[in-house]
């Protein structure tokens, strides 16, 4: 079998493999012709040299089957999993940061700004007594309830942020120590930053817009909680999208 015939058969067997197959074919051609050139230079006839190169390369069906196994079409599942892991961690950290902003809002503008109730909300006497027992200096049932709800907003969000940091630490550690850090698991450039940035932008615009409307209509129901989440979501969107744009300008080889 000549090198030409061999390459024709390999081409047929690699049909549908796209760029990976085209690349493999180019490599096979370079390899076979280099081997044949070398043997011919050592005295073999061209026909014998090509025959020898082809035999040493192995049967085309074996080579093609192994290449297909490496470049199988479900390869996208791994980067998708890694991308979801990274995006989940970043999302949780953003929630945690919004908890810190809610804490600052509460200290500056008061707990009612962050977690005040809407007009008409009342509590049972037992519930009021419980709130006042927890916050005796609140000056009334509504104030004590707002203190309690403010604490919950901050606490739950910061816990989510801590969980996010753990998720990201696990992500980094696993990438460094295992094959999870390899090319097969790496999301394509922008595959995390762009959708996550868009999601943050939509959430941020919605929450901030809603908060501004609440301010305009004098509705204080969870105003600071919504505003803190909206501001952080907009900042996170800006970080994601600007970071992606900068990386496109100055690529350093990392993905996502």
């Amino acid at each position: 079998v000549s090198v030409e015939r061999y390459l024709d058969e390999l081409f047929d067997r690699l049909a549908g493999t796209g760029g990976a197959g085209r690349r493999a074919l180019a490599e096979a051609e370079d390899h076979l012709r280099s081997a044949a050139d070398e043997d011919e230079a050592q005295g073999l006839s061209r026909v014998d040299a090509e025959q020898r190169a082809v035999v040493a390369f192995g049967p085309p069906h074996t080579v093609a089957a192994q290449l297909r196994a490496v470049h199988r079409p479900d390869a996208w599942l791994r980067p998708a999993f890694a991308g979801a892991w990274l995006a989940g961690g970043l999302g949780l950290v953003a929630i945690g940061v919004s908890g810190l902003v809610a804490e600052v809002f509460g200290r500056i503008f008061g707990p009612e700004f962050v977690a005040g109730d809407g007009p008409g909300v009342t509590y049972t006497a037992a519930r009021c007594a419980e709130y006042l027992r927890l916050f005796p200096g609140a000056g009334g049932c509504a104030g004590a309830a707002a203190m309690d709800h403010w604490g919950e907003v901050v606490q739950y969000r910061v816990l989510a942020g801590v969980l996010g940091l753990l998720v990201l630490a696990m992500f980094g550690l696993t990438r460094r120590r295992t094959e999870f850090g390899g090319e097969a698991w790496r999301p394509p450039r922008g595959a995390v930053a762009v959708p996550l940035g868009a999601l943050f932008a939509v959430a941020g615009a919605g929450l901030t817009g809603m908060s501004l409307m609440q301010l305009a209509y004098g509705d204080r129901d969870m105003l600071g909680a919504n505003l803190s989440a909206g501001i952080v979501a907009l900042a996170a969107a800006a970080l994601c999208l600007l970071g992606y744009a900068l990386r496109r300008r100055h690529p350093t080889g990392t993905a996502a």
């Binding site: 390899h31 094959e179 850090g181 390899g182 090319e183």
Partner: protein, 114 residues
Amino acid sequence: MPSFLGMDLRGHLDLLLLATLRQTGPVHGYALITALRDRSGGAFDLPEGTVYPALHRLERDGSVASTWDTGATRKRRIYTLTPVGEAAFAAKRTHFDAFVAGVRAVLQHQVVLP
């Protein structure tokens, strides 16, 4: 199937490729396979075509990186060991050394009969 004196090389092909690439530096596929054959004294007579899927897999896993060399007469893919590949080589070598030590210990074990 890659073999050495009839033994299955599948589990060790990655280690052999990483080790050779580490010694040669950036190199194209044909030169890498030739270097592997020469360094083994001809013992590792692999079906050469099966090395390319292994190289593609190593690249997919981040152990090697590759670029086209268009300066040569023919288009060639140049392979380079990455830091991930260095770490993978060290880990595989440790496992291989432990495996060889274990096999040797069993083979050299003397049974003392009463």
